[in-house]
Symmetry: C2
Subunit: 115 residues, 2 copies
Amino acid sequence: MSSHKQTIILTEKEEMTKGKMIAQACHASLKAYKKADKEKTSKWEKQGQKKVILNAGDHKLEEIHQQAKRNNLSTSLIRDAGRTQLKPGTKTAVGIGPDEEQKIDNITGQLGLIK
Amino acid sequence: MSSHKQTIILTEKEEMTKGKMIAQACHASLKAYKKADKEKTSKWEKQGQKKVILNAGDHKLEEIHQQAKRNNLSTSLIRDAGRTQLKPGTKTAVGIGPDEEQKIDNITGQLGLIK
């Protein structure tokens, strides 16, 4: 059985606290999870629900999201409501999967981990 | 209609990277979500899926989880498999809800936000 994972891609912003960033990641994770194919989700759960957290760096979240869509991967793009630290509509996170590792790596392979 | 939220409680540890911490939070969020009452979950979704990220001291995660259980709140306690940065079984995160804000605040009211 091929390995499955979920990947969350974030952009670190000076004006965003760590707590805020974590909340955005959780939004992305849950939204992509809900959209995902149930068979893939079930495999992923049996395999330990691997989650990988990446840094989008200069790459655009919107671009990654669209690329995941074109590849028929479950994907979520999170925009902040802008009530606290960010401007309304600021893109903060993308969630992809659960899906096969290789399919996700084809899109996010060049991104580094959040340290 | 009363306000609903989901709260994630984390322990910051020196040996844990920010990415690792985010992954633990996503585990806790998803696990508590899946256990939650569907009617409450649906209200929470309509209200914008508020998530609050709090900081707990080292020994409090288990205590908070048990207290949430006793109060019949959906709750998850995450233990790390210990393959990378932490000792196996280290408690890293608790998720509570979605549920009514007041019920969650009764348990987590004294904890501060993750900055």
